[in-house]
């Protein structure tokens, strides 16, 4: 990693066993030869120093004339005591810059990083230390609209307004080091079941899970239809009107091309016939088994079947008005980092984290990662041949290293994905203690998949997105496709469940409730998994599928998937508008 970037400097210092003050890094980065300056600063630092301070750097720069007339300010007194904002504190006591890194199992693990506690007072004093010395390293942040095919420039489905696409985000070539202090408030998390998995794989628990699904989703439909239990409908005379809420038990086409939808509630099942020439027939195409819907209609003369007149999904109310932040603050929504894969795009990631250190990224106070931190082991046969890092723990170690490049004063929330070392069955609990220990750098919040994360009033439903494959495979291409993954997400919102269909692609672990139900309407729905970038609004809920940080793999090539790699969607939490930045 080039030493000219702040994150590179931080990493290098960490490697040598030093923590550093934020301004010190700024100074180093702006030096004519940052690498040399860093060397000198380290040499110059007293033997017992654990942290390179502004004073150390300045001493070096002044004496060695390395500073390349970077305008600098004398350090304020507080700054020396200010909590670390580059949260790469070093826990082992460090001798002079020759710490034997390999001797320590987890040398770079911060003892206690506390970005949240920063008061921000120090930074307020610090003026812009922008200089133009840093020329080599620009952040090519391209507007997404320019990239053409990879990303849909607008979404028009459902007549919703599409989010604005930033057209003016190209960074000036003088990328600069920000001295801004972020001040995120801790994320509030609900629906986390980490450490609370009570399922033991018994039949009864499966039943409980599905019952819970039915009960909670049917509530959303009760206002619209007058539900009669299946048992009651079975007793009704032919020709009566009937309305039923149930889980879709089966969808079949009849010999004459009509649709037979079997609904199930807690009393039994009842078949409903959707005539092919009715306009509601197209809704059948969008139906998945085991989702909860309501059907209104008329019983046949022999009362054996219900002729459907209307079909209702739990859906997001059109009246939904999302909450927003009361200040200008942003969140980066990413996923599918896949560290450990030979295709992991380290350069793009470095550019991303470098950018986070620039003033432009000052408002970005939150980083939400929707799963697949690492490539994992044994995900597919002979995976070891394509791994850059074979050892799963080494993969997480490396991921933690990359995570450390993210400014320490950002609030991070992570959920696991199907490549992570947790169970595949959903809901997936958050990482276990061993992995948390490895990734403790930022004191990131780790929660289960799916979870709802509320930051600055904005609730973000985070779900890795395994069910998207199935939604895309089952539904017509105009409703869901890999090129427009957000449309598949709309379907999940409409069904108010992140993975409705049982028995197919999605694996289910029974729990005391169905954690996959979308009971409360989120303001933002964030997924990953399919490695395609796409976003749009559905009934005012912003759906974002966030691309990945892994270049096209052989497997993807073999099945003709061209991933959107190296993008970071940046969400304005005060307006819920989104900008996508490209780092690849």
């Amino acid at each position: 990693m080039p030493l000219s970037t702040p994150s590179g400097l931080v990493t290098e210092l960490a490697r040598r066993g030093y923590n550093a003050e934020r301004e010190a890094i700024t100074l180093l980065a702006n030096a004519a030869d940052p690498a040399l300056a860093l060397d000198r600063a380290v040499e110059d630092a007293p033997d017992d120093a654990l942290r390179i301070t502004v004073a150390h750097v300045r001493a070096v720069l002044d004496t060695d004339k390395l500073s390349a007339d970077a305008p600098t300010k004398p350090p304020s007194d507080e700054s020396a005591d200010a909590p670390p904002r580059e949260s790469v504190t070093q826990d082992p006591p460090v001798s002079t810059g020759e710490t034997d890194q390999t001797a320590e199992p987890k040398p770079n693990r911060p003892s206690q990083s506390a970005p949240v506690e920063t008061e921000g007072s120090a930074s307020a004093d610090v003026e812009d230390t922008v200089s133009s010395t840093d020329t080599g390293e620009t952040v090519p942040s391209t507007d997404i609209g320019d990239t053409g095919k990879a990303v849909p420039s607008s979404t028009s489905s459902d007549g919703d307004s599409s989010p604005p696409v930033s057209t003016d985000t190209t960074l000036s070539s003088e990328a600069s080091q920000s001295s801004h202090t972020r001040n995120p408030t801790p994320a509030h998390i609900t629906n986390d079941m980490t450490g609370a998995s009570t399922g033991t794989g018994e039949y009864k628990q499966f039943v409980t899970t599905f019952k819970d699904r039915y009960e909670r989703l049917s509530k959303l439909l009760r206002g619209r239809v007058n539900h009669r239990p299946a048992k009651a409908i079975q007793q009704m005379p032919g020709g009566s009107d009937a309305e039923m809420i149930g889980l879709v038990n089966d969808i079949r086409s009849t010999a004459s091309g009509h649709w037979l939808v079997e609904l199930e509630d807690t009393t039994g099942t009842f078949p409903c016939l959707v005539m092919k020439d009715k306009n509601i027939a197209e809704l059948v195409d969008q139906m998945l088994k085991d989702e909860c819907i309501a059907i209104q209609g008329t019983l046949a003369d022999d009362a054996g079947i219900l002729f459907a007149d209307s079909i209702h999904f739990p859906d997001i109310p059109r009246t939904h008005r999302p909450s927003t932040a009361d200040r200008h603050v942003q969140a980066a929504l990413i996923s599918d980092v896949h560290v450990g894969s030979q295709e992991f795009m380290a350069d793009a990631w470095n550019r991303f984290t470098d950018w986070l250190h620039t003033p432009e990224a000052d408002p970005v106070e939150y980083l939400l990662i929707a799963g697949d931190m690492v490539e994992g082991v044994g995900i597919y046969p002979n995976q070891d041949e394509e791994l850059d890092i074979i050892d799963i723990y080494d993969q997480y170690e490396r991921f933690a290293e990359y995570l450390k490049q993210v400014p320490g004063d950002m609030e991070i929330v992570m959920i696991p994905g199907n490549h992570d070392a947790v169970r595949l069955a959903e809901p997936q609990p958050g990482f276990d203690e061993e992995l948390r220990e490895i990734m403790s750098a930022h004191d990131a919040k780790i929660t289960s998949n799916p979870s709802t994360v509320t930051v600055e009033n904005v609730s973000v439903l985070m779900y890795h997105g395994v069910s998207l494959d199935e939604v895309i495979a089952e539904l017509p291409a105009d409703k869901a496709s890999y090129d427009e993954p957000h449309k598949a997400m709309y379907q999940l919102l409409k069904k108010r469940h992140v993975a409705p269909q049982y028995g197919g692609h999605t694996r289910v672990a029974p729990e005391e409730k169905d954690y996959l139900v979308i009971e409360d309407v989120p303001d933002v729905f964030h997924t990953g998994h399919v490695h395609k970038l796409g976003w749009g609004k559905y009934h005012n809920v912003l759906a974002v599928n966030s691309g990945c940080w892994q270049a096209q793999t052989d497997f993807q090539k073999s099945v003709n998937i061209d991933p959107d790699a190296g993008y970071a969607p940046i969400l304005d939490l005060d307006t819920l508008e989104m900008t996508v930045r490209k780092f690849s």
């Binding site: 450490g195 399922g199 169970r423 694996r507 003709n560």
Partner: protein, 1181 residues
């Protein structure tokens, strides 16, 4: 044909005629669906081909060409005829190609399988993107039955026709190439391929294939990328195409190459790259690079693709400084199965030593193993067990040969000895600490010809040495005649004397495996021995780790004391080390060449430098192997077993018990009365309607009767067998619902044949009939089958399956029969032309004679009793067999019949063996289109087939005609069999030039003239005789009768035994085995079951109703019963602990251990309550 052979066939045909007469009379009574015997006798192959194809003039042209050339060549020759229009009446180019392709497949399959008609749907001419035309061949699933060679050649034929017709090559689009790769992989995953080409290989083939391979969709699973392609009209896997590409082109590339070389019009230069595996780099690189063997060394897999390529196999860097060696190939280790052990890693020292020769029970795709080895590998090998091998072929059936060298073992007391006696092997087995060497592995030359595999350097054996001695000028004949001289196993003094006297190498019995120790070890050993003493004629040397390892590597037999190693036979050994008998070392240093030979890893040059005689490389080629399938000898039963092909719906329960069904009460309170879907038939005599073949009114015969449901009009079948309603033109079937009184049918049947319910334990019927006309079989037949303890196959016959093994000469004694029996069968002389007088004389087996396993004999006896019962009690005819003991079966005729074929071959029983296999003449197996690499097929008793087989019973679906005797061959014409058998060598001795050629790794074709093959006698008077062998074996059933794989109980027991054995074998890397078992068995099992758990179906415990998802009611919606999971925790994690244990114990990779650890945590996460973790016992301590 010699009069002797004429008499032999006449005998068989006489008996056949007798059977036809009796069976004909029985069938004429009209009890069966047809009134004639339904297995016709075919005249010759040309007839079969023409009939199967329906193309006139083909038979005549085939007969013309047959005399002149091989069948493959004839198939190619016929292409010209089709193109020119002299054969077949096709107007279009596509038609000509199609005719040629179908004919080729029919010819290559001897007209016995349905592949040519059912396996090739059509041929089309389509357009390339540049506007030129190309040929598209559209394959279907049944092409499978054609086998790889015919599949591959069908492509070649299409291409040849294409070039003759001036059509351009197919130019695949990029997405089509990618589609092939994805699709083949998908098909392999879904259905499984014998050979799974890697994506790169598939793409390479697809890019170069001059015609387009297409086909109909065979699976439900669809490809996920490359969908909706313009020129591919399905998104599912096209099974026929995948087979042709993978098992045809990819697997049989060397074979196709033989034929492309002979054709000027067809040039497939890319085949060489395919064979060499040099397609991994882009084409230019592979072609341009002269030293492409370097590329091959880069990746293991690349070299896998090619077994060896002659000179290239030698690492060019070492070229002159090392001996010729074949490249290790690890392909055979892929997909290792738990419980089936590895016997040797690729070319690893201590593995099987390649010896050339053909034992009398050896033939195509068989592996000669010493019976002592079979016992010492813990009985995992038995006669007929299939092993997957490194070379020359992929797999072989194991046969016992005790005239080769046995294994060398180290006992717990440190003794190292070679075991050449199976009895001794059993005695010492428990004390064996390590198997240092698996002994020799006999492979016949023909095997190399068949696989077109360059000869691998031969072991130095006495059959070669004797010729060396002869060549050196010794009077070998005189020595042979001298009763005091044993040329095969001479004494030490003689061996040393000959070595000194003649310019021939040291006798192999005293030649040690110098090539397996390093020069350093050699030098150290010489020093150690020089310091040793000879006490009482035994050499004693200091016992050190290094010395022990060296002696064990050399396979020098010795014993040990606490501080010394004692070598009883030491003089040749000491001399080879360059020491005198007085243990004086006569040399100081070795030359540079000797020290650097083979990088210093091979001490052969050193030995030859210091020894007073020439020393040959004892065993330069080691062959890796692992167990494939176990041998088989068991009755073929449908599942559940069936006694009668009479439908009883669900009434018989899961057992399909007819008696139970006959007692079930229906809604109206009638017992055994039920509605069954059966074929409507009409009596040809009285017009009465019934579902039975024999009219219950007048006893006449009935025929299927067609009435249109809609119009109620009768209809007749047209020429093609289709039946259309004359008014509404709907296709109509004869099948309809009949109310059948099963109770009275059942009891009536028992009355007819005079049996009572107590005569049998259970009579099983079928749930429903799957045939087109749904004609039920007479229940009487089932009653008699049940009584005699045999069951019916889907076509009404009684079958017994056995693994095929070849044998060309037998001793009456080993077949548990006498010379008398053999003389009665027409055998008069032994193999040396002496009159047959004694039971232990070796007799050459006649082509259609077969040896039954004990189990088969017992089963045939039961079948004979059944047939006799049937004739007497049902048809009211005299019995045919009247057997009392199994000797009565000798001389009786059976049908041999292989899966995927449609023709039976008549065989004659001549004896019995305790091995669980069916030994027969290799030509008999080849006539059924089987080789002997662990394939199995069945025998049926002749009369049973004639009486009970009917096409009417065959399932009405694609492939339904397979595995049914639609035709029979009464005599084998050696030129009309699978030509694989023709490559079997039939000589008594391989010449010295041959052995020398192996050391140069010559192409088998170069020495083919030196050794007579079966193909050399084709068409001559000798085509039925003269199958000589180079090696004898005491008995064709030595070694264990059953593989340990079959005698061990649970999978865990098998795997434990497999891992235990892997530790004992020097040639096996036990960590690799454990790794492969975990990778190939435990992990997929765990992952699969965990996946299955989280998306499982549920089932009602009371009524059996299945639910895709758990009902919200919790209970069964049908019966209110208890619903439960179908996949439980116990079945998900049953292997978890043992997998972790094995990974630990065998030091598996961290990667593997981590995968297991992650899985274990996943299991905990799913199956354990976080809030109520099960506490270990430690929590209480």
């Amino acid at each position: 044909m010699r009069p002797d052979d004429e008499r032999y066939f006449a005998r068989i045909e006489d008996r056949l005629d007798e059977a036809f007469e009796r069976a004909g009379a029985a069938r004429a009574q009209g009890h069966d669906p047809a009134t004639e015997i339904e297995i016709p006798v075919a005249k010759d192959m040309a007839d079969r081909v023409e009939n199967i194809l329906g193309i006139p003039d083909v038979a005549e042209r085939v007969r013309e060409l047959e005399g002149e050339m091989s069948r493959e060549e004839a198939a190619l020759e016929l292409v010209t005829d089709f193109v020119e229009g002299t054969v077949g009446d096709y107007d279009t180019k596509a038609g000509k190609v199609e005719g040629a392709v179908r004919t080729a497949v029919a010819l290559l399959t001897e007209g016995v399988v349905a592949a040519p008609i059912e396996g090739i749907d059509r041929v089309e001419i389509l357009q390339n993107d540049d506007g030129t035309e190309f040929v598209n061949v559209y394959y279907a699933g049944p092409i499978r039955s054609a086998g790889g060679t015919a599949q591959a050649l069908s492509v070649l034929v299409a291409d040849y026709a294409r070039s003759l017709l001036g059509i351009d090559e197919y130019k695949a689009r990029t997405e089509e190439v990618e589609r092939y790769a994805e699709e083949v992989a998908l098909y392999d995953k879904e259905t499984g391929l014998q050979y799974s080409p890697k994506d790169k290989e598939t793409k390479f083939i697809a890019e170069h294939m001059p015609i387009m391979l297409d086909g109909e969709a065979t699976g439900d699973e669809e490809v996920s990328g490359f969908r909706d392609l313009e020129r591919v009209d399905t998104n599912s896997a096209r099974g026929g195409m995948c087979l042709v590409l993978a098992e045809g082109i990819a697997l049989k590339a060397p074979k196709i190459q033989r034929y492309t070389r002979g054709l000027d019009e067809v040039d497939w230069p890319w085949l060489q790259d395919l064979i060499d595996g040099t397609y991994y780099d882009d084409g230019a690189d592979a072609e341009g690079d002269a030293a492409d063997a370097d590329d091959g060394d880069d990746t293991q897999d690349e070299t896998d693709e090619t077994a060896v390529d002659d000179a290239d196999a030698v690492d060019p860097d070492l070229g002159p400084q090392g001996p010729p060696r074949v490249e290790p190939a690890s392909k055979y280790l892929r997909d290792l199965i738990a419980g089936r052990p590895v016997f040797g890693h690729p070319s690893e020292a201590g593995g099987f030593r390649l010896r050339y020769g053909r034992a009398r029970n050896h033939g195509f795709a068989t592996a000669g193993v010493h019976p002592a080895t079979m016992h010492l590998v813990d009985d995992f090998l038995a006669t007929g067990t299939q092993i997957k091998t490194e070379r020359p072929g992929k797999a072989g059936g194991v046969i016992p040969v005790d005239s080769i060298e046995g294994p060398t073992v180290r006992l717990a007391n440190g003794d190292v000895r070679r075991v050449d006696d199976p009895e001794e092997a059993l005695e010492i087995r428990n004390g064996v600490e390590a198997i240092l060497d698996l002994g020799e592995y006999l492979v016949n030359f023909g095997e190399f010809v068949e696989n077109n595999h360059p000869l691998a350097p031969a072991s130095y054996t006495h059959e070669w040495w004797i010729q060396d001695l002869d060549h050196a000028g010794a009077d070998v004949q005189a020595m042979r005649d001298d009763p005091h001289v044993d040329l095969e196993q001479p004494g030490v003094d003689e061996a040393l004397q000959w070595a000194a006297e003649y310019d021939a190498p040291l006798h192999p019995a005293y030649t040690y495996l110098w090539h397996d120790i390093t020069v350093e070890q050699f030098e150290a050993l010489a020093e150690t021995v020089a310091d040793g003493d000879v006490v009482e004629g035994v050499l004693a040397i200091e016992r050190t780790e290094a010395t022990t390892t060296a002696l064990e590597g050399l396979l020098v037999e010795h014993s040990q004391t606490p501080d010394s190693l004692r070598i009883p036979v030491w003089r040749p050994f000491v001399r080879s080390l360059g020491l005198t008998d007085g243990l004086r070392k006569e040399w100081d240093t070795l030359s540079e060449e000797a020290r650097t030979w083979d990088g210093g890893d091979n001490a052969v040059k050193a030995v030859n430098e210091v020894a007073p005689f020439e020393v040959q490389e004892r065993a330069p080629t080691r062959i890796g192997a692992r167990m494939g399938r176990p041998e088989k000898s068991e009755s073929r039963d449908l599942s559940p077993a069936v006694h009668t092909l009479f439908p009883i719906s669900e009434a018989g329960g899961s057992q399909r018990n007819v008696a139970d069904a006959a007692r079930v009460m229906n809604d109206k309170g009638q017992r055994g009365v039920m509605d069954l879907l059966v074929g409507a038939r009409e009596c040809t005599d009285c017009g009465n309607h019934s579902y039975k073949p024999k009219c219950p009114e007048c006893g006449g015969h009935t025929e299927p009767h067609y009435v249109c449901d809609e119009c109620d009009i009768e209809a007749e079948p047209d020429e093609s067998g289709r039946v259309e309603c004359p008014r509404c033109e709907r296709e109509i079937e004869s099948v309809e619902w009949h109310t059948v009184d099963l109770n009275s049918e059942f009891h009536g049947a028992m009355d007819t044949v005079g049996e009572r319910e107590a005569s049998f334990k259970i009579l099983k019927g079928v749930k429903g009939l799957t045939s087109a006309h749904k004609t039920p079989e007479a229940i009487e037949k089932g009653v008699l089958r049940a009584k005699n303890g045999v069951t019916a196959f889907k076509d009404g016959t009684v079958r017994y399956d056995m693994t095929d093994l070849p044998v060309t000469s037998v001793r009456p004694e080993e077949l548990d029969v006498t010379a008398d029996h053999f003389r009665q069968l027409g055998y008069e002389e032994d193999i040396d032309g002496e009159p047959l007088r004694f039971d232990d004389q070796l007799v050459e087996l006649k082509v259609q004679d077969i040896v039954l396993s004990d189990g088969a004999a017992e089963h045939m006896l039961k079948t004979a009793d059944f047939v006799d019962d049937l004739l007497e009690k049902f048809y009211d005819l005299p019995p045919f067999y009247e057997v009392n003991e199994r000797d009565d079966l000798i001389g009786e005729l059976v049908f041999g019949m292989a899966p995927h074929t449609s023709a039976a071959t008549v065989g004659r029983v001549v004896g019995f063996t305790s091995a669980a296999v069916g030994y027969a003449h290799p030509y008999f197996h080849a006539a059924k289109r089987r080789n002997c690499d662990g394939d199995e097929d069945c025998v049926m008793l002749l009369m049973d087939g004639l009486l009970n087989f009917s096409k009417e019973f065959l399932p009405d679906k694609r492939g339904g005609q397979m595995d049914a005797p639609l035709v029979m061959s009464s005599r084998i014409d050696p030129s009309e069999i699978d030509d694989e058998a023709h490559n079997m060598d039939i000589v008594r001795q391989y010449p010295r030039e041959f052995y020398e050629a192996t050391r140069e790794m010559a192409d088998p074709g170069e020495v083919e003239d030196l050794i007579q093959l079966g193909e050399d006698t084709l068409g001559t008077d000798d085509e039925y005789r003269g199958f000589d062998h180079t090696h004898d074996t005491t008995d064709i059933a030595l070694g264990p009768d059953l593989s340990a794989y079959k005698t061990l109980g649970s999978m865990m027991d098998k795997m434990d035994a497999q891992l235990l054995l892997s530790r004992k074998l020097r040639a096996v890397d036990e960590t690799d085995v454990a790794e492969r078992v975990i990778e190939g068995h435990f992990l997929p099992d765990l992952i699969g079951n965990l996946r299955a758990f989280s998306r499982q179906e549920t089932r009602c415990l009371d009524c059996g109703e299945k639910y895709r998802r758990m009902p919200l009611t919790g209970d069964c919606r049908e019966c209110g019963g208890r619903v439960n999971l179908t996949v439980h925790q116990g079945s998900v994690n049953k292997y978890m602990d043992v997998a972790i244990e094995v990974a630990e114990e065998f030091g598996c990779r961290e990667y593997t251990k981590q995968r297991l650890a992650i899985l274990e945590r996943s299991l905990e996460s799913v199956f354990e309550n976080d809030k109520n973790k099960q506490s270990g016992i430690a929590d209480f301590m």
